[in-house]
């Protein structure tokens, strides 16, 4: 059962230099209790997709050009700001890409967590504070009573990130959007935080959208993955299927570009070459003819340059937007 349904979503920025089609027709479903990964090259629209769902795109320049976001039967794109504020932080919450900028430096950690609880649940301030302390315990911050009264700058990077998670989870959200939640962290702290998120998911049944360009994190935490390129969804598949049988040449290239910890990296003393994806992402302020990946694609034909490939169903829940999937598969095999 889908709890969040995104259909043909398009978000455009109207700037002095023209219209930037940051998100240009993205659709996906999120089932209750599921973890969905979103991956793609820097600038492909992952964060803007998330911010559009949350209705946090800058009103001066950004427009939802078309499409819908349905959450538990309600159309989020048409809600008033006031109605949206009730949903944000309560039913749907988000961990932002930059934790340093999203915590308030002049408020204590305890106040920031308690405020979210108090605003959404109508409990007393004292109860909200108790809840805040319980949340700090839950995210594994020792000595929570003392930490409640500390300011963000008194905490380490890993602890600040966990405070963000504590705020995001303080009202038992149905959906958690985590935008690069661990990119700024060390592997050891990263492992703690990922385990924590998965544990909470088990306990509370929260559905998670995990945005990251770390394919290791994707492999370890998600069940299904959406691959974006230039504002569009170019592939979607269950995670094992995606890694075993990538159908889009961009995904295929991505898989081959990862240096692997488990591979024997040193064949006969020589360091093997990694596969590169040459070239750059297309500009989003110009209309894109044909397939957006064509200029960088090893498989591209004349047709790819003029005709945009539709998203096709290849069975087992595997969708891909590419004219040449048969050849990609032949190479991968």
């Amino acid at each position: 059962m889908s709890i969040l349904t995104v259909r043909d979503l398009a978000t455009h920025f109207h700037t002095r230099d023209g219209i930037i089609r940051a998100v240009d027709g993205v659709s996906f479903d999120l089932a209750a209790g599921e973890t969905l990964g979103i991956v793609g090259e820097s600038g492909c629209g992952k964060s803007v997709t998330a911010l559009t769902i949350m209705r946090l795109i800058p009103p001066e320049t950004a427009r939802i050009a078309r499409g819908s976001v349905e959450f538990e039967g309600r159309e989020l794109t048409r809600l008033s700001e006031e109605q949206m504020r009730e949903i944000r932080g309560k039913s749907i919450s988000m961990i932002f890409q930059e934790p340093m900028t999203s915590l308030n430096p002049v408020l204590t950690v305890g106040t920031q967590i308690a405020e979210n609880v108090w605003r959404h649940t109508g409990v007393s301030k004292q109860q909200a504070r108790e809840r805040a302390q319980a949340m700090l315990d839950l995210v594994g911050i020792a000595d929570s009573r003392r930490r409640l009264d500390e300011y963000p700058h008194q905490l380490s990077g890993g602890m600040r990130q966990r405070v963000m998670i504590a705020i995001a989870l303080s009202c038992d959200p149905r959906v958690l959007i985590a935008d690069e939640p661990t990119t700024a962290l060390d592997v050891t702290i990263q492992a703690q935080i990922l385990d924590l998120m998965l544990e909470l998911k088990e306990k509370l049944g929260t559905a998670i959208i995990m945005i990251t360009h770390d394919l290791g994190v994707v492999a370890e935490t998600t069940q299904r993955v959406v691959v974006m390129y230039a504002g569009r969804k170019v592939e979607e598949a269950p995670v094992e299927e995606l890694f075993a049988r990538p159908l889009h040449p961009y995904t295929h290239g991505l898989m081959r570009a990862i240096p692997r910890l488990d591979a024997d990296a040193e064949t006969a003393g020589r360091r093997p070459r990694l596969k590169e994806i040459p070239g750059m992402v297309p500009r989003l302020d110009r209309p894109i003819a044909g397939c957006p990946f064509a200029p960088r694609c090893d498989f591209a034909t004349e047709r790819c340059r003029v005709e945009a490939p539709p998203l096709e169903d290849h069975g087992k829940g595997h969708l891909a937007a590419c004219w040449e999937t048969a050849r990609v598969q032949a190479v991968a095999a």
Binding site: L185, L194, L215, A219, L254, L261, D262, E276
Partner: protein, 336 residues
């Protein structure tokens, strides 16, 4: 060419003073680097890994002589360069170059690529004018860019391309040693591959010695020959990469390796060894073994005795009281 290592560091220490109070009295010190030794041969990459704040960049900056060490020695090609006259310093700067983490902020957006990449040529009086332009064009080609990039501004390039420009600039003066501090961390995997391939090609061609700093273990394994693992200012394990990944001996290395996510969903890890808690502050490091507060194998003596870095097996250096000389690499038994 001597047999001496390209770069050697002996017992390097760097303490940053902490000042506090109204009078800004010196009240303590951050022991960012606390006795580090290693050597890198020609054509070799030594990887430096470890948690955030463990002192990796400080080691890099000290060998680049951007900051003065508190004590210890730095040797380039066998020559002690710890204290240099300004004249010799100039020569030193030419032999050791750096590639920065952030290709965005490390280049002046108002200057053209030709000016940026050619700057060291001009500074060291190697070439100017036409001659400089010709050399810059060759350098750009060598890093896989078109020579006409010279006349453009850096913001017109992608992250990976900018990182290539940084590498071209570092190569301009024919250095022997390159310190690369997180050179691919800001890049996407697809772009990261381009930069790593380039660094390896250049090393093989010019026999460069690399000190490569990163906390991405897969990248480390790909590019390094040997790897040093740091924890709170000290090297806790140093060995060739194959040994490090197949039989790590230090409990911190073991935790680090098991925490790294593996990009293969069929190998979802059942249980990782997760070190709990945050890194202790380097201003107040725990006594004894710095890792004992988070170590599952700690013994009572770990709280008081500092484990020295010893060669427990051929070429395998470990600083752990539970790994004496000749210790087997078998997993340790956790203490209750």
């Amino acid at each position: 060419m001597s047999d001496a290592p390209s770069l050697e560091v002996r017992n390097l220490v760097k303490h940053f003073p902490i000042h506090s109070g109204l009078l800004q009295r010196r009240t303590g010190a951050v022991k960012a680097v606390d006795g580090v030794s290693f050597a890198i041969r020609r054509g070799e990459t030594l990887g430096l890994v470890g948690e955030s704040g463990c002192g990796k960049s400080t080691v890099g900056k000290t060998v680049l002589k951007l900051i003065e060490p508190t004590s210890g020695q730095i040797l380039l090609d066998g020559e002690d360069v710890t204290h240099l006259s300004p004249g010799r310093m100039w020569h030193h700067r030419r032999r050791i170059q750096t590639v920065f983490q952030d290709p965005y902020s490390s280049m002046n957006p108002r200057l053209k690529v030709g000016t940026i990449v050619g700057e060291p040529l001009e500074n060291f009086g190697i070439a100017s004018g036409r001659d400089k332009d010709e050399r810059v064009a060759k350098l750009l080609e060598r890093v896989g860019m078109r020579p006409d990039a010279m006349n453009r501004f850096t913001h017109e390039f992608s992250g990976g391309q900018r990182q290539r420009l940084g590498i071209a600039k570092a190569l301009a003066v024919n250095p022997d040693v390159i310190v690369a501090d997180e050179p691919v961390s800001a890049l996407d995997v697809s772009v990261q591959a381009q930069v790593l391939n380039l660094l390896i090609d250049l090393q093989d061609e010019y026999k460069l010695a690399y000190l490569f700093i990163s906390h991405d273990l897969a990248v480390m394994r790909h590019i390094s020959h040997r790897i040093a693992v740091m924890y709170l200012g000290r090297i806790v394990e140093l060995t060739d990469k194959r040994t490090l990944f197949s039989m790590p001996m230090h409990p911190y290395t073991e935790a680090l390796l098991s925490a790294a996510p593996v990009p293969d969903p069929s190998k979802k890890k059942a249980r990782r060894i997760i070190v709990q808690g945050d890194v202790p502050s380097p201003a107040k490091p725990p006594p004894g073994c710095h890792f004992h507060t988070r170590c599952p194998y700690a013994l009572p003596k770990c709280k008081v005795e500092v484990p020295p870095l010893i060669e427990v097996a051929q070429g395998h250096h470990v600083a752990c009281l539970r790994r004496p000389v000749g210790a087997s690499p078998e997993p340790l038994t956790p203490t209750a």
